[in-house]
């Protein structure tokens, strides 16, 4: 994999600055400005940002729209929840049950012993490996089966949505093994460390933010590498890439697996921070909402996707606190608006509208004072613009990919190939 690094590359500079501002926001500004409760809430939003980053790679770059990301989110979340639940269900803590030592919901459902497939989740290393390996294996099976048969686009979206539906029905139906519709609740300690007090929640927030930044770096690396170029080429002209000798299915499967891992890590962090996992975060509706986080941020922008997840979730919390009636109208309108009017999302709005505007304003300021013969004003560096007093959140959206969205988004080529 050859990287096109060069010091004068404006795209790279932009991405590094965007990443630095995001890190400043997540690691400094939010922890300083928010109390532990609100910070925990933002930690929860960040979990969805993992999924959104994965979708930028799969959907924005690769043209693979998965409506089943909730399943991968759930895989990671449930793996973590099973480990935590087993740790919470010691024989002493559960001695009032008819079978002590098994999770409470199993006892309520008349199970007499721990199911065999729960046993490995006693081990933390196994759980951590499972959080990575399970989604990869699952995504690999789905990806290989579908992409080898040259299926993609809309068809892939429908199948992944069906998988999300199946997962929810299965989890709800098998409540003796999965906790049913309530999910796995009452989680207490991670390897002996209590995750419930505020101090632990703050620590978990930092772990989550750190992992998210790591994921963003990884995604940006993929985006800038030759792999990223091939993904975009495949999205726009799949046959041409195939005829050039590339194994299209292998690239698609890889990026789908990567997106699945991101979602799964997000799910595991969700369980740790929220303290439960339930099928309501796995099904069709949450899965498709994860797509809108990505679309709002900008389907081609890794860093935009993080802001998309934060903003949409923040809007949901504040709307459903004050106007629960309006939230669905707002969300529906958001879906339509982002598709019809802003196909490249917030990142696109930033690059196309706000950045030129700022550049014009700054240029006027720097050139009017004295010297009319001053040389062309240089491209203003985003940091100086941020010093001009804008929200740090909005300022980092400029970390767009090096490939701005073409006028007609290009998802149709892949979809046509499917039908």
């Amino acid at each position: 994999m050859r990287l096109s690094f060069s010091a004068s590359d404006p795209g790279l500079r932009r991405q590094i600055i965007g990443l630095a501002l995001l890190a400043a926001l997540l690691l400094v500004a939010l922890p300083l400005g928010l109390d532990a409760f609100r910070l925990n809430l933002f930690g929860k939003y960040l979990c969805f940002a993992f999924v959104a980053i994965g979708l930028v790679l799969c959907w924005g770059m690769g043209g693979i729209l998965s409506l089943g990301q909730g399943v991968f989110f759930g895989l990671g979340g449930y793996a973590m929840a099973m480990y935590l639940k087993l740790e919470a269900s010691t024989p002493e803590a559960t001695k009032i049950q008819s079978t002590p030592g098994i999770p409470d919901f199993m006892d309520w459902n008349q199970l007499k012993a721990l199911p065999l497939w729960w046993e490995p989740f006693h081990s933390l290393p196994f759980t951590l490996i499972a959080i990575i390996a399970l989604p990869v294996a699952f995504a690999f099976i789905i990806g290989t089966a579908m992409f080898r048969r040259r299926v993609g686009g809309v068809y892939f979206a429908i199948i992944t949505q069906a998988i999300a539906a199946i997962a929810t029905i299965l989890i709800i139906g098998q409540q003796g093994y999965t906790g049913g519709v309530n999910g796995i609740t009452d989680l207490r300690t991670l390897h002996g460390w209590d995750i419930r007090p505020d101090s632990a929640r703050v620590t978990l927030y930092f772990v989550c933010a750190g992992l998210l930044l790591l994921a963003a770096v990884l995604a940006l690396f993929v985006q800038r590498s030759k792999l990223g170029r091939i993904l975009i080429a495949m999205r726009d002209q799949e046959d041409r890439v195939r005829f050039s000798g590339y194994d299209v299915a292998a690239f698609k499967t890889f990026v789908f697996c990567l997106g699945a891992v991101f979602a799964s890590v997000g799910g595991a962090m969700f369980t740790l921070q929220v303290g439960f996992m339930s099928p309501t975060i796995v099904g069709i509706v949450p899965s498709i909402e994860m797509v809108i986080f990505c679309a709002v941020g900008g389907r081609l922008s890794v860093i935009g996707a993080v802001y998309g997840a934060l903003l949409v979730n923040l809007a949901r919390t504040s709307f459903s606190e004050s106007f629960p009636e309006l939230w669905l109208f707002g969300l529906g309108a958001l879906f339509i608006a982002v598709v019809m009017a802003f196909p490249s999302g917030l990142a696109g709005v930033w690059v196309e509208r706000i950045e030129p505007l700022l550049a014009r304003l700054l240029r006027r300021k720097t050139t009017t004072p004295a010297d009319p013969n001053a040389p062309e004003a240089p491209e203003p560096a985003p940091l100086t613009r941020d010093a001009a007093g804008r929200r740090p959140g909005a300022a980092t959206l400029n970390a767009l990919s090096t490939n701005p969205l073409p006028a007609t988004p290009m998802t149709d080529a892949a979809a046509r190939a499917a039908l």
Partner: protein, 308 residues
């Protein structure tokens, strides 16, 4: 599995489950026909399809309330009126949606999917605001209730038979429209080659709008028929959407016959499994099998042989 039942009991079980499977089959056919036209013929993903069905159900509910004010004799025949009204209202909304949203997105099918999902959220909230969050049911005329006793152990409900009748009638109507009318010929021509269809004088934009409207109208009729066997809530539509898409895709997207065959297979498998397993496991097994088959055979049961 079968050990504890006697032979005649087994026969009755299969007959009864087969019949409830037939009702499920009719439901699936009704749901899927509209989508088979919109997705199968136009290639448009309409995630709000379930909400168009619910619209038909609510129209039926309103008509039944209106007829409740009229003399009793008229109440017996409100159903046909309600179905026509449901077709017209859902069709009109469909034409509007095509004009406002869909026609701008024909080249971006994945975006259509997201936009129509947004539409479905808005419609759901609209229903909730207008009709309340609780489910509503229609009052049925007396002749539509009760059941027919075929033998000592086998009984079939009348409303189930009616739903089946409606499904058959609409399937035939759609088949005739698609293959005998000039509209059907135009739709098929536009699907096969849009540019050439336009060149020989077919108004492709009008054809698209009409096709989308008819598909939505059929969804409305389906919703109207569903009021006979269940109540309607603002978010009932979302329950149907996965089943409906799977039926259409499994049948082979462009084939009406395939849609009917796949609706039959899926519904029979599910309702027979339901007797021996819990309802949710029957559903999971059926859907898993369908998804598995689709992964191996993406073109579905009945694929059109087309050179692309």
């Amino acid at each position: 599995m079968f050990g504890e039942y006697s032979l005649s009991e087994l026969a009755s079980i299969f007959a009864m489950q087969g019949f409830s499977g037939l009702i499920l089959f009719s439901v699936f056919v009704l749901m899927a026909l509209g989508l088979a036209i919109i997705y199968g013929q136009m290639g448009v993903i309409n995630m709000a399809h379930g909400e168009f069905m619910i619209l038909g159900a609510y129209v039926t509910y309103l008509v039944s309330r209106a007829f409740g004010e009229l003399p009793h004799a008229l109440f017996n025949v409100y159903f046909p009126v309600a179905m026509v009204a449901a077709f017209l209202v859902a069709g009109a909304l469909g034409a509007f949606v095509e004009w406002a949203l869909i026609r701008r997105l024909y080249r971006r099918p994945l975006d259509t999917l997201l936009a129509t999902w947004g539409l479905s959220l808005i419609l759901q909230q609209l229903y909730r605001t207008i009709f309340g969050a609780r489910e509503v049911g229609v009052t049925m005329p007396e002749w539509m209730m009760g059941s027919l006793k075929l033998s000592d152990t086998i009984e079939v409900p009348i409303n189930g038979i009616l739903v089946m009748g409606i499904a058959v009638a609409i399937s035939i109507a759609v088949g005739v429209m698609m293959h005998r009318s000039s509209w059907g010929r135009q739709v098929r021509a536009v699907v096969q080659n849009r540019t050439m269809a336009g060149a020989v004088g077919i108004d492709t934009e009008r054809t698209d709008r009409l096709t989308f409207a008819v598909g939505c109208g059929i969804a409305g009729v389906a919703g109207s028929a569903f009021t006979m066997i269940g109540s309607t809530g603002p978010s009932s539509g979302q329950l149907y959407i996965v089943d409906t898409f799977l039926v259409v895709v499994f049948g082979g997207a462009a084939s009406l016959l395939g849609t009917i065959a796949s609706a039959f297979t899926i519904s029979q498998a599910q309702s027979i499994l339901e007797f021996f397993l819990s309802g949710s496991m029957a559903k999971v097994l059926t859907l898993l099998t369908v998804v598995g088959i689709l992964m191996l055979r993406p073109q579905g049961l009945f694929a059109l042989k087309l050179r692309k």
